[in-house]
Every structure is written in structure tokens, then in C-alpha cells.
């Protein structure tokens, strides 16, 4: 564990302390893992009303084409991601992946078209590497800037729209993955209708100087509760969303990770801009021919949570190893343990019965469709 004194703080650090947060080291930052309400209540509040998350530790990156033409930036970025960036309309955002020459995943990210530049949100632990990777790959055509003068908060849950509408009525017309600039309390913010909880919601990028003010005002709303990393993790797990470093990493390909939906037709074999990204040979071959293992949802039969690292077997004696759990815990909304992990493709079909090794016992666990909760995105 890193010494606490070397941990970085987000602009909302003092606010977290004043709210009674329990702080922990996470990706080089001291971050709130939970507030006095506790993980369970925070999780359920997000599903029932609106949760506010500080995600300022994540990296925000601007890519500006030197030519002034956004298409040049899009085409340059397509050299690093298997994603249709050129076809991304202004004011739209999509999920993407940085891949490596072996087809592994360097990071997952959000890519938005802001008209004159691309706006990226990347994972905290990867942001410096991503910045360098982008400069290496796009530096000739684009200026790549890590925006360290902005905070980022996520407002998630069924009341998120109503809460934000009180500040900016037009938010109601935004659809899932729309992105817009708007003033909240006279502060110019970038708002996207997205998040990582499976709920409808928004991510709001705020200039650092105004971050505390805007966040505090959002928290004043009776429907809004500050939510820590603990509930963020259980929410995204129920939503079947990958956590970089747990469920995906440089050793997993997008197809193994069941993320082929993030590779649009234009980048696939036969598409107008097929391939051309790192690891394309392997990834396109896997798209056509499949993989030896797949990421799947897993539902433990009993009440015992099955955590990341647990091995998966076909038999209750633990003789035939076919995979392992990458994320697992308790799902407060579904009121049972939930997990995901990788299994050999022959055992990846929904309904397949397996056994997870937990403290020397082999507990029944069933391959199960993801997500565990119904997504409520406003499409």
C-alpha cells in the first residue's frame, strides 16, 4: 500500500472529510470508500433516488487536431482504438478501448466528439500512461492535453434527471451518451448522460475552482446522497460492467471480455476502416472464430459471496479447473451474491453449473446473463 502522505487529493477531498467519509488509497489518490450511511444504504439510495460520486481521480484528456478538422483527430485516434470514432457525431460519446499489439486491453475509456476536439475520460491508474500513449500515437496530428484543472462528478440514479433539471432544464432532452456544455450555478460544465452504475445518470466535468461549490449545491438536494467507492463497485458489478485491472487488463482481449459490442461494424473485417488498431489481427480473428475463454456473469447459489480470485471448477471436488472469478461480492439490489469471471468457452453458456472454491469448499455457482439489474439508460 502506498504511504498515505504521497497520495494525491481530488478537489473535493476536504468536502469528503466534512461529510464524514472513510478515506482509502485508490489508484494513487486518497478517496472516499464510504460515508456514514454505509455501502449498503449508499448502493440502494443510488438505485432508488440519486447518488453523487467523486470521480475526479479519473483522467480527462482533450485531443485537438492541428489541422482544425475533427475528422483528422478521429482518424488519428482510430489508430489506437478498435472503435468508430469518425462516425461519432458532435455531442455524442461512446465507450472505447486502448489495445496493445497482442490484442490485450491497455485501458477502457469514454470518447466524446465536442465539435472542435475529442474529449476522453480514462481510468485514474492508467491516465499518465494513456496520455503518453496518445502523445506517441497522435502527437504529429494532434495536441493532446491532460486536463488537470477539472473535477468530475457522477450523478446516478432514477432521480438524477429531475435533480439536474432544476439547474438546467434542457438536460431532460439529452439521451444516453449525449454530451453538452451547460452552466450549472453560472459555472460552465461539460455534462454527459452516462455513468457506470447501470442507472440513468450524468457525469459532470467542472472547473476545479468551482468544483466544491457545484458539488455542494447538488448535495443540498434532498434526493442526493454522497456515495463512496464501495457502492460504486457493487453498483457496477450488478450492472455487469468491467473494472479495469480486475475484469480486463493487458492479458485479456476485447472478445474474451465479451466487449465486441464496443467494436463497430466499420472497424471489423469488411468494414470501411477495418483494422488498423493495435492487435487488430488477433482481435479480428477472434471476432470471426471465437476465443478459448469468455467473460461471464456468475450467480453463487448460497448466501456466501464469491470474491475475485476464486477458482472455478466443473465438479464439486475441484478437479477440473475451467476458470476464475475476477470480480465478486454482494449485490444489495438483487439481495444475493453476484460475480463475474472468465471460463473456458465450452462452459460459458448461461445456466452452466460450476463450482467456486471458497475457503476450501466448492460452492455451486451458475453462469448467468449480465447485467444482474435492468439497465435504465434513457436511449
Amino acid at each position: 500500500m502506498e504511504p498515505i502522505s504521497r497520495l494525491k487529493h481530488t478537489p473535493l477531498h476536504a468536502l469528503h472529510l466534512s461529510l464524514g467519509a472513510r478515506m482509502v488509497p485508490f489508484a494513487g489518490y486518497e478517496m472516499p470508500v464510504q460515508y456514514p450511511e454505509g455501502v449498503l444504504k449508499e448502493h440502494l439510495h443510488t438505485r432508488a433516488a440519486a447518488g453523487l460520486f467523486d470521480v475526479s481521480h479519473m483522467g480527462q484528456i482533450a485531443i485537438r487536431p492541428k489541422s482544425g478538422r475533427i475528422a483528422d483527430a478521429a482518424l488519428a485516434l482510430e489508430k489506437l482504438v478498435p472503435v468508430d470514432v469518425l462516425g461519432l457525431a458532435e455531442g455524442r460519446q461512446r465507450y472505447g478501448l486502448f489495445t496493445n499489439p497482442e490484442g490485450g486491453i491497455l485501458d477502457d475509456l469514454m470518447i466524446a466528439n465536442r465539435g472542435d476536439h475529442l474529449f476522453l475520460v480514462v481510468n485514474a491508474a492508467c491516465k499518465d500512461a494513456d496520455h503518453a500513449h496518445l502523445k506517441d500515437g497522435l502527437g504529429d496530428a494532434c495536441d493532446v492535453t491532460l486536463l488537470d484543472d477539472r473535477a468530475l462528478v457522477a450523478l446516478q440514479g432514477p432521480r438524477a434527471e429531475a435533480v439536474l433539471c432544476e439547474l438546467w432544464a434542457d438536460v431532460a432532452s439529452m439521451r444516453f451518451m449525449d454530451l453538452a456544455e451547460a452552466d450549472l450555478h453560472d459555472v460552465a460544465c461539460i455534462i454527459s448522460r452516462s455513468g457506470y452504475t447501470g442507472e440513468d445518470g450524468f457525469e459532470i466535468s467542472i472547473p476545479t475552482a468551482s468544483a466544491v461549490d457545484v458539488t455542494q449545491r447538488l448535495l443540498e438536494h434532498p434526493d442526493v446522497l454522497a456515495i463512496g467507492l464501495g457502492a460504486r463497485d457493487s453498483l457496477r458489478l450488478e450492472a455487469g460492467l468491467c473494472l479495469y485491472g480486475n475484469d480486463i487488463d493487458t492479458g485479456t482481449t476485447p472478445i474474451e471480455a465479451a466487449l465486441e459490442w464496443a467494436i463497430q461494424k466499420s472497424r471489423r473485417a469488411g468494414g470501411e476502416r477495418a483494422g488498423g488498431f493495435p492487435g487488430a489481427d488477433r482481435i479480428l480473428a477472434e471476432l470471426a472464430g471465437g476465443t478459448d475463454r469468455r467473460r461471464v456473469g456468475l450467480k453463487p447459489e448460497g448466501r456466501a459471496p464469491v470474491r475475485g480470485g476464486a477458482k472455478l471448477f466443473t465438479d464439486p471436488d475441484g478437479t477440473v479447473l475451467v476458470g476464475s472469478v475476477t470480480s465478486g461480492g454482494f449485490g444489495p439490489s438483487v439481495d444475493c451474491p453476484v460475480a463475474m469471471g472468465y471460463v473456458e468457452t465450452a462452459h460459458a453458456r448461461n445456466g452452466t453449473k460450476l463450482f467456486a472454491e471458497v475457503r476450501g469448499k466448492y460452492l455451486p455457482i451458475t453462469v448467468s446473463a449480465l447485467p444482474f439489474v435492468k439497465q435504465t439508460y434513457k436511449r
Partner: protein, 120 residues
């Protein structure tokens, strides 16, 4: 009189039998518990052995056997409702009763004042 361990178990010793639970401090640190696994009656443990497991939404933690002895009773109520450990850690949410191998062995554990000093 209650005794405590540095690993955050409490013990109430009566007639050579210790009723064992986890402290309010430990329950608070663990957060909302969602799963408790208890030992079986009749099992013998040495001091420091893992005797039970508690799991919060986020993580699993071991509960250690505070002294040498034999499990003679476990509390099914906390298996049925793990949140009892958060709401009443020193009362209804005891974990197990331990017949001590040496009834005087509890003397060496912390008293309440010493434990309070330990956890600040």
C-alpha cells in the same frame, strides 16, 4: 466482566465457557455485514485459528478463536440476519460459545480500558 483481544473479539467468561463476539469497533470498521460463516459445534480450535468468517458488501474477514477450546454452541441468528452484528455486536450478535481448555487463560486478555486505549 468482558475481556478483549487485539484482534477485536470480545469474550464474556462464565464457568469456564466464553461467549465470543466481535467488538463494536470491528463491526463499524467492517461496515454492513451480509454473510456470516460459523464453525460447527464440537470443533476444537487453538488460539489464533480462524473460527468464523464475516463478509461485508466489499470484503471478507476472518474471526479468530481468542483462546484454546471447543465450540459448544453457535448463534444461528447472525447467520440468518448478519446485520445483527452491526446493530447489536455486544448483545444479540454473539458468534459462538467456547469451552475453554484452560479456564484461567482469559486472564491474560485485555480488559475494557486496555482495549479502548488500543482502538483509541
Amino acid at each position: 466482566m468482558l475481556k478483549f483481544t487485539e484482534e477485536h473479539e470480545w469474550l464474556k467468561v462464565e464457568g469456564g465457557v466464553a461467549t465470543v463476539g466481535i467488538t463494536e469497533h470491528a463491526a463499524g470498521q467492517l461496515g454492513d455485514l451480509v454473510f456470516v460463516e460459523l464453525p460447527e459445534s464440537g470443533v476444537t480450535f487453538s488460539k489464533g485459528d480462524t473460527a468464523a468468517t464475516v463478509e461485508s458488501v466489499k470484503a471478507a474477514s476472518d474471526v479468530y478463536c481468542p483462546l484454546d477450546g471447543e465450540i459448544i454452541e453457535v448463534n444461528q441468528a447472525i447467520v440468518d440476519d448478519p446485520s445483527l452484528v452491526n446493530s447489536d455486536p455486544h448483545g444479540a450478535a454473539w458468534f459462538f460459545k467456547l469451552k475453554l481448555a484452560d479456564p484461567r487463560s482469559a486472564d491474560g486478555l485485555l480488559d475494557e480500558a486496555a482495549y479502548k486505549e488500543l482502538v483509541g
